[in-house]
């Protein structure tokens, strides 16, 4: 009982409750100039969002602002859970966010800008010029929504990344034809590549405008109003301008934004479309993503079966060097994470061969599962009784005929159940390929969930689709097993 009371009191004094500290959340992985680990003291963070948070804390009469690291795409959920009071890390203003959470007034105006390779700069001036081309951006952003909306009207191919470094790297190597992101991120990427030939240029004409806001829990609307008051004050007294100038992100449009915001206490009209939250609107993209999941899984499994059979034959029938080689491959693949293999095949090999993301996904999954299939087939081949093989030999069948006519068919019956298990596992592991920009079912669900601000409906839909694919497989396997097993 005492322990319970203690826990309760600890929970009540959790980070978001301490009155003299403003606990705020952001993603230091997003990096400068937003939030980054301080190079001189990595236990601290710095960036303009850090200073904005400190300015807000001061204005609210708090002694300090304490930073909590949270994944960027989870800021909304975390703030509602009470992990921190204020989310602030290049958080975009969207109608959905405004409807579901207590959102501050905008404190920064960004431009969604296109980056293209220098040789394309003369031909590409906007999304309309990108018909049939691959355009990269961060997932779960306004930019991604813009690209998805443009997919239907202009026929471009949106690609979603989990970070903002690889889109530009892939633009330079030619994997994608354009990148659409906030101008701060684009300019940072340009600086990062440095030199006289960074490999891409940023188009001057922005695709659209957006605003960064602070996000608070829906129940904290009173505190949000106080935050708004502090932000307006900081716009008036010049402290916000100083912060942005210090981080070299100040430009005339910020002054115009401040004027508008300070003049009207009403919120600035948000950028982006308002139709994003409707369930039906997401069904086509979920269906498409489910198709990608099914196709990636099916092709990977076919590859895994073919390579797995070759590996198993090598291990059972091959000469010593081949047995050693296949064993090494199998142990290497089984002993390292699939995620690592995906990265190596997609990014690591990019210098040698630039595989399209879909092909890299199928290759990585297929070659990974081939190792597991090989062990299943080897076990199944070795489970066929020796007398069956000897009987076949005495009849005069060649080794190849024995494998094809006697050993293989019997091994298949042993292998069927574990193979089906693997296929179901592969179906779910295929969600990993989203790290190399293939938008499959889980990724699409995450995007959907971020946009509507809840995992309940998207999660249930996603689970339903996975089950709809895996349950029939298990059923099929049971039926085949029954049919191929001679009646006892």
């Amino acid at each position: 009982m005492n322990v319970f009371v203690l826990l309760l009191s600890l929970a009540a004094q959790g980070p978001a409750r301490a009155p003299h500290v403003l606990v705020w959340g952001g993603d230091a992985e997003g990096g400068a100039p937003f939030v980054e680990a301080d190079p001189t003291d990595p236990s601290k963070v710095r960036g303009f969002d850090v200073e904005v948070a400190e300015r807000i804390a001061r204005g609210l009469g708090r002694r300090t602002a304490r930073f909590i690291q949270v994944q960027w795409s989870s800021i909304d959920q975390s703030v509602e859970r009470g992990d921190f009071t204020l989310g602030l890390s290049g958080v975009e203003e969207t109608p959905v966010r405004r409807a579901r959470h207590a959102v501050s007034i905008p404190y920064f105006e960004f431009r969604e800008v296109l980056a293209v390779r220098p040789e394309d700069a003369g031909r590409i001036h906007g999304l309309a010029d990108l018909r049939g081309r691959r355009v990269a951006t961060l997932g779960a952003t306004i930019a991604y929504d813009l690209l998805v909306a443009a997919r239907d009207s202009t026929g471009l191919i949106p690609l979603s990344y989990d970070d903002d470094v690889h889109p530009y790297a892939d633009l330079v190597t030619g994997r994608v034809d354009a990148v659409l992101l906030d101008h701060i991120i684009a300019e940072r990427a340009l600086r990062r590549r440095g030199g006289s030939a960074p490999g891409f240029v940023i188009l001057a004409q922005p695709v659209s405008l957006g605003h960064y806001v602070g996000v608070l829990a829906r129940a904290d609307s009173v505190l949000r109003d106080s935050v708004d008051a502090v932000l307006r004050e900081a716009m008036r007294d010049g402290t916000l301008e100083q912060i942005f100038r210090r981080w070299d992100v100040w430009d005339p449009s910020q002054g115009a934004l401040f004027d508008r915001v300070v003049r009207s206490s009403a919120a600035v009209a948000p950028a982006g479309s308002a139709a994003a939250s409707h369930v039906l609107a997401y069904l086509p993209s979920l269906a498409r993503a489910a198709g990608v999941t099914a196709l990636v899984s099916l092709l990977s499994m076919i590859l895994a079966v073919i390579v797995g059979l070759s590996l198993a034959s090598g291990r059972v029938y091959g000469p010593v060097w081949l047995r050693v080689a296949t064993t090494l491959y199998i142990e290497l693949i089984r002993g390292t994470p699939l995620l690592l293999q995906l990265f190596v095949i997609y990014y690591g090999l990019a210098g040698v061969v630039r595989l399209p993301a879909f092909l890299a996904a199928v290759l990585a999954l297929g070659l990974n599962y081939a190792a597991y299939e090989a062990e299943i087939y080897r076990g199944a081949l070795e489970a066929v009784p020796r007398q069956q093989l000897e009987a076949a030999r005495t009849l005069g069948l060649s080794e190849l005929q024995i494998l094809r006519l006697v050993r293989g068919p019997q091994a298949l019956r042993f292998a069927l159940a574990p193979m089906t298990n693997d296929f179901v596992a592969l179906l779910k592991d295929s969600s990993l390929v989203s790290v190399i920009t293939v938008v499959e079912l889980t990724k699409q669900t995450a995007i959907y969930a971020t946009n509507v601000g809840s995992w309940v409906v998207p999660g249930a839909l996603c689970a339903g689709v996975y089950l709809a694919m895996s349950l029939p497989l298990a059923r099929l396997a049971r039926r085949l097993e029954r049919r191929w097993r001679p009646a006892a």
Binding site: Q387, Q388, E390, A391, R393, T394, L395, P409, P486
Partner: protein, 218 residues
């Protein structure tokens, strides 16, 4: 000297233990020879050596002019003539579990002798009928009784028409009535001109149905 099978001083060692020491015997066409002895005395080993399923250490085996020498078992590609000369019926039958009785018998006809499916099936049906299991042609091995499985296994071994048939403990799983029927079947096969070498520990069966008996002692 017109022996179909000549085994001359056959010696097999497992590690340092001698399983067979200098076994010699001959089987002529139309003759049934029983290889007698208690369990573990090397009867099956002798049959397996004749069928080139295991190596032997000394001696010589000649099947209808095809000789096997001591040392490792030659690759299958060099054993084609032997495979055409020798059929082996395993003690546990070793029927192919994934094939029907009929397909067990047609397998070698189609894939070794290259016969068409219809011709192979017609020949297999005749064999199964002769062995009194014609009605079981479409059954799976696991659906057959011990006696039925044995006769299907005999049909399978006979399908490529080998002159020499080896049988390992054919009476092990048979009741007395079936044993007598088996004896009749074997006699019928020998009358077709085949030589039969039967490994058995069943002295009564050997005395009743074999033309000659070779005894192995431990």
């Amino acid at each position: 000297m017109n022996a179909l099978l000549v085994i001359d001083r056959l010696t097999v060692r497992y590690d340092s233990r001698e399983v067979l020491r200098a076994l010699s015997l001959e089987v002529a066409r139309g003759e049934i020879v029983a290889l007698m002895g208690p369990s573990g005395v090397g009867k099956s080993t002798a049959l397996r050596a004749v069928a080139a399923l295991q190596p032997f250490d000394a001696g010589r085996i000649v099947v209808d002019g095809f000789a096997l020498a001591p040392g490792p078992v030659p690759p299958e590609s060099r054993l084609v003539p032997l495979r055409r000369r020798v059929g082996l019926v395993f003690q546990a039958h070793a029927l192919f579990e994934h094939l029907s009785a009929l397909d067990n018998v047609t397998l070698a006809l189609r894939h070794v002798l290259g016969q068409s499916r219809s011709k192979a099936e017609a020949a297999a049906a005749v064999l199964l009928a002769e062995l009194d299991v014609g009605a079981r042609a479409s059954a799976w091995p696991s659906q057959l009784s011990g006696g039925e499985a044995q006769r299907v296994a005999i049909a399978r071994a006979l399908a490529p028409d080998p002159p020499l048939l080896l049988m390992d403990e054919p009476t092990a799983a048979l009741d007395p009535a079936r044993r007598s029927a088996l004896g009749t079947t074997l006699r019928h096969l020998s009358e077709q001109g085949r030589g039969l070498l039967i490994a058995t520990h069943d002295a009564e069966f050997a005395r009743g149905h074999a033309d000659s008996v070779v005894s192995l002692t431990a």
